[in-house]
């Protein structure tokens, strides 16, 4: 085919400007611009403590967003990640403070809780053919309810569970391994966990069978099925993976707050979805990167932090973040249309 060569080179040229790389570059540039802007308008913004604060604030949302990235690449959605995170925090707290399990086992209980919730999501979606929006909306409410039921059943009232007997638990996120090696950089472990989790997620997405089928299902589910892939099973695995990341976020937030707060969690799923979308993952599936999601999560927490420093009321912070989400997706649509 003489023509095909010409077509591919032309396509390659075209895609330099419209590829995922360009989208990531765009998101990254946006992050730099936001950073530069706040650095200029506020002398407090670019201090070490504040930057640490931004990094720390990104940890929970970032980890949630990693899981959501996989789900959205399959053209699905997961609304339950926020409350599943809370439920995982509760089970971790119960395991450590009520059952008296050692901390590592308590963490495993939290991770398992998240994965189980995600697995159930996957079964409902892939086997019962219930749309992801509805299935995970239901799971969001179930997890929220369970997070309230647990303390009520144990203590007779809905109240937070504190890790007063396990002071080491808080060090899991608030300690600094990096700081003990490089004394000048007391980067909290929570941030380290986020980056390690992101590396693992990126590896899964780009190098493993699971990642390949995640993209394939989102790109053309029917074609994937006709290629002999067990789509239902792999979808279930994807949601379970999303749940696992929620479980991890639950452990992180419990450790950071040194307590499990049963009422927390609703609304976190929207921040996570926003981070994923800002990072260039397409809600129609097939496209998305972990690096993009990470940048998206940083954009959100940097904005929130900077606006707070400028004294912008919280209500207005939300309004601005909302605009950013819409603009990011609109840019993505423009890019696609141009293709």
């Amino acid at each position: 085919m003489a023509t095909s060569e010409v077509t591919t080179t032309a396509a390659a040229k075209r895609s330099i400007f419209r590829s995922e790389a360009a989208q990531k570059l765009l998101a990254f540039a946006a992050l730099i611009v936001i950073f530069a802007f706040f650095s200029i308008v506020s002398p407090y913004f670019l201090t070490r403590d504040n930057v640490m604060g931004i990094l720390l604030a990104t940890a929970v949302n970032g980890v949630l967003a990693l899981g959501v990235t996989f789900v959205i690449i399959t053209a699905g959605i997961d609304l339950s990640v926020g409350t599943v995170m809370t439920l995982s925090a509760m089970t971790t707290a119960v395991a450590i403070t009520v059952w008296g399990l050692p901390i590592p086992l308590g963490i495993l209980v939290g991770l398992f809780t998240g994965m189980l919730a995600g697995f159930v999501n996957g079964i409902i979606i892939a086997r019962m053919s219930i749309p992801p929006f509805v299935a995970t909306l239901g799971m969001m409410m179930i997890a929220r309810g369970l997070a309230l039921v647990i303390p009520a059943a144990i203590f007779g009232s809905v109240r937070p569970i504190y890790f007063s007997d396990a002071p080491a638990f808080t060090l899991i996120t608030m300690g600094s391994i990096v700081g003990s090696v490089f004394p000048g950089f007391p980067i909290p472990n929570a941030v380290l966990i986020l980056f390690v989790a992101a590396l693992i997620a990126a590896f899964i997405l780009s190098k493993t069978v699971l990642g390949r089928y995640t993209v394939a299902i989102g790109s053309n589910e029917e074609a994937t099925r006709l290629s002999g892939v067990n789509v239902a099973n792999w979808k279930t695995v994807v949601y379970a993976l999303g749940g696992l990341f929620s479980g991890l976020a639950g452990v992180i937030i419990a450790s950071r707050l040194n307590s499990a707060q049963p009422g927390l969690g609703a609304g976190y799923e929207l921040d996570a979805i926003a981070a994923v979308v800002i990072g260039g993952t397409s809600l129609s599936g097939g496209e998305g990167t972990i690096l993009g999601t990470l940048i998206g999560a940083f954009i959100i927490s940097t904005l929130t932090n900077g606006l707070r420093i400028l004294g912008v009321p919280q209500e207005w912070q939300m309004v601005i973040t909302g605009f950013i989400v819409i603009m990011a997706v609109y840019l993505d649509i423009l890019r696609r249309r141009a293709r």
Binding site: A223, T224, G228
Partner: protein
């Protein structure tokens, strides 16, 4: 011949309301190209999808290399060495060529769950080299032309070490040069002993590529012939040789001379090329052609659902600018989609609401309040006039039969005062009894002075209903017949008149343009 690779016999397959396959049979030898032909809906694709494990058969048996086999899913078919290239391409646009070729059976590294991308690329490269394809395995599918994607599908099928390769309309989207390339590949495969099933509407292609031809009609086996010995006319008569209408055809009233709609030199991409026609008052103008001939595309452009590249539309002699369906409705043009459920009806709403939907403004009183008395009266009128069988006006449309749903759509457009009605496959999915009611209705409408364009892939329907027939092939009009001249054979001849033949008739300047699209 003793090298029979595959034998399918007594295959039945029923879909809700349709008997798609009725004792169908098919035989394939190793090292032959066996063409499978038939009209739209004859069951060719269905039969082959049974073989490829996409559909489960209701009855019958499949003998593969002499042994009876069950093929419950695509994976099973691939394992046996049966691959199918579907009509709608089945690639993942976001993945690379190599990733597409190996999806579902990727080479792995040490740990079972890690992909060996190097192997995937290298093996794909080797595969492409063996097919003389100059393609980079790392290119994303989305960046390729349809023709190239087609070749990738073939490469993918071959990588399964396929003994049987099924191709469903492989040339539908290809240019002449690309078809030549495809044929070269097919012949190579045949010489290697692969059995190739070639489904196509393009009869003149078959002489070039096929060894044998099997004809299907209405889900049944008609016959198998030597491709070189049989004439195209004979194939056509085998394809259409049926008499479905026992009743005498309606006598077409002669339409008025007044021209209601005129289309001049309409163009849109490669789907609509230089289409011109006139529609008279009270006329039923049939649009015949094979699937993908561009008939629906013409209708959509005239209705303003798609933008035109160039061309002019005149309504009652006045040039009009139709850029949106609401402009078309304003000029009295209504379009009844072949996909009623998706484009024609609000399924969850009741009969009355659907009938008044396209002309809601007429039923609004002061402050935009809907005048329920008026909508009720109108709904009642059309339910009676069109004999829509519904327990009440408040019945949800989704609970009606196909025929009655179609009548509701007709009622909707009549309420909107349209006098040009474009029917796209008006009887698709409608049972035989209800069909004749729809035919009566169309005739009545024409006699009342409505002008009708009827797009249909069913030749008997076109022949029975039309005053005049326009035949399209590959986006252009290849023939026009009066009711008196028209026969199934003549229509099929025009409908399969491809670019080459048209070019010989002096339309070559358009041809070179088409190649570039």
């Amino acid at each position: 011949m003793d090298n029979v690779l595959l034998l399918m016999e007594g295959i039945d397959k029923t879909f809700p309301g349709v008997r798609a396959l009725d004792q169908a049979q098919f035989e394939l030898r190793a090292g032959e190209v066996h063409a499978l032909v038939g009209e739209n809906g004859a069951g060719k694709s269905t039969l082959m999808k049974v073989l490829a494990g996409v559909y489960a058969k209701d009855a019958g048996r499949i003998l593969y290399q002499g042994k009876e086999v069950e093929i419950p899913n695509p994976r099973a078919a691939q394992t046996l060495g049966i691959s199918m290239i579907h009509q709608e391409l089945n690639l993942m646009p976001h993945l690379t060529l190599a990733q597409n070729v190996f999806v579902g059976r990727e080479p792995r590294q040490g740990l079972r769950f890690v992909l060996d991308e190097k192997q995937i690329n290298a093996q794909t490269q080797a595969l492409f080299d063996s097919m003389h394809l100059k393609l980079d395995p790392r290119t994303r599918v989305a960046d390729l032309t349809v023709a190239t994607q087609q070749m990738v599908e073939i490469a993918k099928a071959l990588s399964f070490d396929s003994q049987i390769l099924i191709m469903d309309e492989p040339t539908a989207a290809l240019t002449e040069a690309e078809i030549e390339e495809l044929f070269r590949t097919i012949r190579q495969l045949r010489d290697r002993g692969v059995g190739i099933v070639y489904i196509s509407h393009r009869l003149e292609e078959l002489k070039q590529i096929a060894d044998r031809i099997t004809v299907m009609r209405d889900g049944r086996y008609v016959g198998t012939e030597d491709a070189q010995a049989i004439s195209i006319d004979r194939i056509i008569s085998m394809m259409v040789g049926r008499t479905i209408f026992e009743s005498a055809p309606e006598v077409p009233e002669h339409p008025d001379e007044e021209i209601v709609l005129e289309v001049k030199n309409l163009n849109r991409g490669s789907a609509v090329k230089d289409v011109s026609f006139k529609l008279r008052r009270g006329e039923i103008l049939g649009f015949a052609g094979l699937m993908g001939a561009g008939r629906t595309e013409v209708a959509r452009v005239v209705f303003g659902a798609d933008a035109l590249d160039s061309g002019e539309i005149y309504v009652h002699g006045k040039k009009v600018d139709i850029r949106h369906p609401r402009h078309a409705v304003r000029h009295g043009i209504g379009y009844l989609s072949e996909d009623r459920k998706r484009y024609g009806l609000a399924l969850g709403m009741d009969v009355e609401a659907n009938i008044v939907l396209a002309s809601f403004h007429k039923f609004l009183g002061l402050l935009g309040v809907v005048n329920n008395g008026k909508t009720h009266a109108t709904g009642k009128h059309y339910v009676e006039a069109l004999t829509i069988k519904t327990p009440s006006l408040q019945q949800k449309v989704k609970n009606l039969s196909g025929g009655n749903q179609q009548k509701v759509v007709i009622g909707k457009w009549l309420t909107a005062d349209t006098d040009v009605l474009i029917f796209d496959e008006p009887t698709r999915g409608i049972d035989v009894g209800a069909k004749s009611e729809i035919y009566h209705l169309l005739n009545e409408l024409a006699q009342q002075g409505k002008s009708i364009i009827m797009i249909s892939s069913e030749l008997p329907e076109i022949l029975r209903m039309s005053h005049r027939i326009i035949v399209m092939c590959e986006g252009r009009i290849t023939g026009e017949l009066t009711a008196a001249e028209a026969t199934q054979e003549r229509i099929m001849t025009y409908a399969t008149q491809r670019r080459l033949l048209v070019a010989a008739n002096g339309a070559s300047q358009n041809d070179s343009a088409a190649q570039e699209v």
